[in-house]
């Protein structure tokens, strides 16, 4: 069961219309290391986790990632919603507009559509948690690229928040890896 809360986790206020920036930050809406891949990865891995701490952290971080997906979608939409079509023509956002209009859609910055092959659920807790630690670092790196590309102070502010969340999640997954290792080592003594 999930409950929707009618607010963003972090306030978003884009500074101006900016179709170029929209076409870049959509990377985190539908890219390989984006928020949708993160949410589905963690929420899919939860069933086979052997210890309660791992079940909790995957459920909770997976849920937070959905809130981040909503933040990115909101920024993409706000960056283009008041643009006349004549101002979209000739920008990198035009290819997106041809198919999706002004609706966000999960594809990466070069237009490759989202696919479940971006993540795995291995049924092996160690393999899964190490995938997640790598995913958080890759997402952090993507946010650093996007922050360097952004010329909109409002978007940059939200990207900085999202980057910091990747670091916290990496930390929590690292602790989960240690707890899993302890659990597996302890079982050998039975």
């Amino acid at each position: 069961m999930w409950i929707y809360e009618k607010k963003l986790e972090y306030p978003v206020k884009v500074s101006s219309c900016n179709p170029i920036l929209a076409s870049l930050i959509i990377e985190q809406f539908g890219g390989a290391d984006g928020e949708l891949a993160a949410a589905l990865r963690y929420l899919t891995q939860v069933w086979t986790m052997p210890i309660p701490q791992a079940k909790a952290i995957l459920t909770d971080i997976g849920t937070e990632e959905l809130a981040h997906w909503e933040i990115i979608g909101t920024m993409v939409y706000q960056l283009v919603k008041d643009l006349p079509e004549s101002k979209i023509e000739g920008t990198p956002f035009a290819a997106h507009f041809a198919n999706h209009g002004k609706s966000p859609y999960p594809h990466d910055a070069s237009g490759v559509p989202f696919t479940a092959t971006y993540f795995n659920a291995k049924g092996d807790p160690i393999a899964d948690i190490y995938e997640n630690m790598a995913a958080e670092q890759k997402a952090r790196a993507t946010y650093e690229h996007l922050i360097n590309l952004s010329d909109d102070p409002g978007v940059t502010d939200a990207l900085r928040f999202l980057r910091e969340r990747e670091i916290v999640h990496f930390q929590r997954f690292g602790e989960t890896a240690r707890l899993l290792q302890e659990y597996m080592d302890s079982k050998r003594f039975y």
């Binding site: 409950i3 929707y4 809360e5 009618k6 607010k7 963003l8 986790e9 972090y10 306030p11 206020k13 884009v14 500074s15 101006s16 219309c17 309660p52 701490q53 909790a56 952290i57 909770d60 971080i61 937070e64 909503e70 979608g73 909101t74 939409y77 706000q78 919603k81 008041d82 916290v168 999640h169 929590r172 602790e175 989960t176 707890l179």
Partner: protein, 99 residues
């Protein structure tokens, strides 16, 4: 307490962020008593703030988590990606409104 909607929402976002952060920490440190005390204190503060906010501005959550005035406020109040969600009372921040 009569904050405008934007300030009130910001206060709730701040409280909820602290609670999320403590929640994740407690997931991997379930016996950390100080973190648990902080979580319980801030959760109570957040619950109180949400009840006050929802009385003034309509429900934040659906599916039985908050009652609604007439007519059904869940559908009719602004959504988070809309300009007037944060800016209902001080439209000066309607930065991209069509002129």
């Amino acid at each position: 307490m009569n904050m405008n909607r934007k300030d009130f929402l910001r206060k709730i976002q701040e409280l909820e962020f602290a609670v999320i952060e403590l929640n994740l920490f407690l997931d991997t440190h379930p016996s950390h008593q100080q973190a648990l005390a902080d979580y319980n204190r801030l959760t109570q503060e957040l619950m109180n703030a949400k009840i006050m906010y929802e009385r003034q501005y309509g429900p934040l959550t659906n599916f039985g988590y908050a009652p609604s005035q007439y007519p059904w406020q869940w559908a009719l109040t602004p959504w988070p990606w809309e300009d007037d969600y944060e800016c209902k009372e001080d439209m000066a921040c309607g930065y991209m409104k069509k002129s």
